[in-house]
C-alpha cells in the first residue's frame, strides 16, 4: 500500500525541559488522535519522530498511524541543539524507509517534514550542508516552526518558505500547532499531484506566519 510518510523533527534540547516538552507530548497525542478520525490518514499516514538535542535519535521509526503508540520523549538538563545532525539522520532514514516507484512496486506519496525548534542550530555548518541534501529528497512540504521567543527563524527560512512561529511554548500553543499539523497532513494527503506547492490550511491565531 502507498504510504504518506510524515517526519516530525522535535527539539529536545535542555531549554525544552519541563513544561515545553510536556506540552509537546500533549500536542502529539492530540495530533495522533485527531488524525485517527480521518479515514484517508488512517489508511495512509505513517509517522516517524526524530528528536534532537546533544544526541539525535529516531525515537519512532516510520510507523503506520493505526499501529502507532507514542514513544517516551526525554530532555537532557542542558547542552547544544544539533539540528544539522538531525537533518543528516533524517536523510538517512528517508533513503532507508521511503519507497520510490519501481516497475514491480508502487512508490510512497511524497513525504512531509515538520521541524520544531526553540533555539537555533548549534552545528550551523552541518545544518547548511544538509539543506541541499534535504531539497534533493523532494518533500511534498517542509513546515518549520520556531517555538518561543528565543527561537531563530532565519536558519529555518533557509530550509523552507513555510516558517511559522509560536509566541509561547505552553500546552495551548502546542495543542493548536499540532492540530494544525494534523490538518495539514490531511491536506497533504489530497493535494499530491500536479502542483508543487503544498496547500496548507490557515494556521490558528497562536501560530504566526513568518514572511
Amino acid at each position: 500500500m502507498r504510504r504518506l510518510p510524515v517526519y516530525l523533527l522535535i527539539d529536545t534540547s535542555g531549554s525544552m525541559r519541563g513544561e515545553p516538552i510536556e506540552s509537546v507530548k500533549v500536542g502529539l497525542e492530540t495530533m495522533v488522535s485527531s488524525l485517527r478520525q480521518d479515514p484517508f490518514a488512517l489508511e495512509s499516514v505513517n509517522i516517524s519522530i526524530i528528536t534532537f538535542d546533544r544526541d539525535v535519535k529516531q525515537v519512532l521509526p516510520l510507523t503506520p498511524l493505526d499501529e502507532l503508540q507514542l514513544p517516551q520523549i526525554t530532555t537532557p538538563d542542558s547542552g547544544p541543539t544539533h539540528t544539522g545532525e538531525a537533518l543528516r539522520l533524517l536523510c538517512e532514514r528517508i533513503d532507508e524507509e521511503v519507497k520510490r516507484s519501481a516497475p514491480d512496486h508502487k512508490g510512497d506519496w511524497m513525504p512531509l517534514l515538520f521541524l520544531m525548534t526553540d533555539g537555533k542550530p548549534s552545528d550551523s555548518k552541518l545544518y547548511r550542508e544538509m539543506i541541499p541534501e534535504i531539497k534533493k529528497r523532494r518533500f511534498a512540504g517542509i513546515i518549520a516552526c520556531a517555538a518561543g521567543m528565543n527561537a531563530k527563524t532565519e536558519p529555518l527560512k533557509e530550509l523552507t518558505d513555510e516558517v511559522y512561529s509560536l509566541d509561547t511554548v505552553d500546552s495551548t500553543s502546542f495543542k493548536k500547532f499540532f492540530k494544525w499539523v494534523s490538518d495539514s497532513i490531511g491536506v497533504g494527503n489530497r493535494s499530491l499531484g500536479a502542483t508543487d506547492d503544498l496547500l496548507l490550511p490557515p494556521p490558528p491565531p497562536e501560530v504566526n506566519v513568518i514572511i
Binding site: P39, F40, S101, P103, D104, G107, D108, M110, G193, T195
Partner: protein, 482 residues
Amino acid sequence: MKREHRLSGRRPGEVARVNEAVRKLDKAMELSGVPERDKQPFLEWVIKELWDKFKEERMEKRLRIENEIRQLGIRFPNGTVNEDYSVSFSLPSEKISNVTLEGVEEIGLLFTQEENGQYLLMGRPSKAGDYILRLRYDTSVGEPTSELIIPVAFNPNPRDLWRDIPTDRNIPYYKEDSELDYIKVESGPDGLPKKDVVAASRRGRSHAQEGKARDDHYGICHCKDSDWYILAVADGAGSAKYSRKGSEVACGAVVEHCRNRLLDNVAFESAISEYASDRENKEKRTEVTRHIIEIIYKGAMKAHEAVKNVAQANGEVKLKDFATTLMFAICKRYDFGWFIASFWVGDGAMCIFDEKNKTVKLLGTPDEGEYSGQTRFLTMPEIFRDPEAVSKRLRMAIVPDFTALFLMTDGVSDPMFETEKNLNDYHKWEEFYEKLIAGFPEDEIGGVVLSDDNEESKEQLLRWLDFWSPGNHDDRTIAILY
C-alpha cells in the same frame, strides 16, 4: 488472669502447647543472661527489628518482581473497533497473585488467565479511542498492589468515517458527482451482434469527504455513419483548481475532433484496408501512420488547445490549474479484424484484453514518477515539443477480435494492478476481468454483466466502481468497449 482469659477460647491441648512455647522462650532468655526486668523491652526490640527486616525484604521482593515484569516489555498492539482482537502474554505467575487488567470491560474485552502463566486479552473492542490499561497484581500479602500501565489504541474502522458531502452546485465548472452511459449498437444487416460501449465515472471518497468535485471525465461515441467507436478517459490532477474542467474539455474536444475526421474519410479507410492485406509493406504502414497523426496526434493537440482556450478565457488562471491526463482510442471492425489507434498521456491504463487467446495488449506506457501521484499531463507544453516522444504515445493495432477494450483512470488501475509490471501481466488482467464480472460479494458489491445490449450494465458498473481498497479513494472512471 488476663492470659487465662485470652486463651480460654482455645482447646486444652493448644493452651498447653502455647504455655510450653512461652516457657521455652523464657528459658532461652535466661540462658542468654537476659535479666528479668529486660525481658519485655528485649522482646519488643527483637520483634521490631525483625519486623522491619521482614517488611524490607518483602518490599524488595515486590520491586524485584515489578522490575522483572517491566523488563518483559509487554506491549499491546493497537486494534480496530468491531474486529476480533487478541493478544497473549506470559507472566511469572508463580510469583504473583490476583492478576487483573483494569479498563478492559468498558472496551468490551475479556481478560483471562490460561495455563503455564499465559494470559489472554481478547474480544471485539466496542469503542474507538486511546486507552490506558492497568495490569494489577499482588506480590505478597501486606504489600501494596503492583501496577503496570499498558497503553493501547483502538482505531475506528476507516470505512465508517467516510462522509459523502455533495459538491456545491455554485462552484465554477460544476459537474455531477457521477456519470454513466451506455451505447447500444444494433446489429448490422448481417444480423451479428455489434460491440457496445459502457462507461461510468464516480467521485472518489477522498473528494466526497470534503465536498469536492469529481476531477475525472470520459467521452464515448459510436459514429453511426462511419461505424467508428471513440473512447476517451481523462483524470484531472488532484490539486489543480479547475482540473475537473480540464478533463471534461479534453474528452469533449478529442471525441469531437475524431468524429469529424473519421466521417467519410475514404483515404484513411482505404489506407487501412491496403495495409491490412499487406502488413509487411512499410509504405502502406507509413500511409496509415500519416492518417493517424492527422486524427490521433492532432486530436491530442486539439484537446490541449481546447483546455488552453478555456484557461485563457478565464483570465486569472493558468493552464496548470486545468491539468489533466488523457487517453483515447478509435476502433472499427473490418473483415480482417479490428483496427485500433490510440494516444495516452498520464497514468491509468488502456488495454486490449482477449480472454480467448489469453493475451493483453497495453496501448502505451503509464507516465509515473519517483513517488506516487506524480505523472505527466496533457496540459504540459513539453508533451508536444519532442516529436519522437509524442510518437511513443501513439499506438496502432490490428487484432482479429477481443473480449474488451478498457480505458481507466488510476483510481481504478492503481488498486487493481498497483504496478506497471502487473499491467503487462495477462493473469492480472484475467483477475481484473473476473472481479469485474463477479463483483465483491464480501462487500456486497455486485458484478457487471457484460452481455450484448445489457443497458443495465452502466448502473452495475457505477456501483462496481465503489469497491473498497485501503488507501485508494481517488475518482474512478472506466470505459469499456465489449
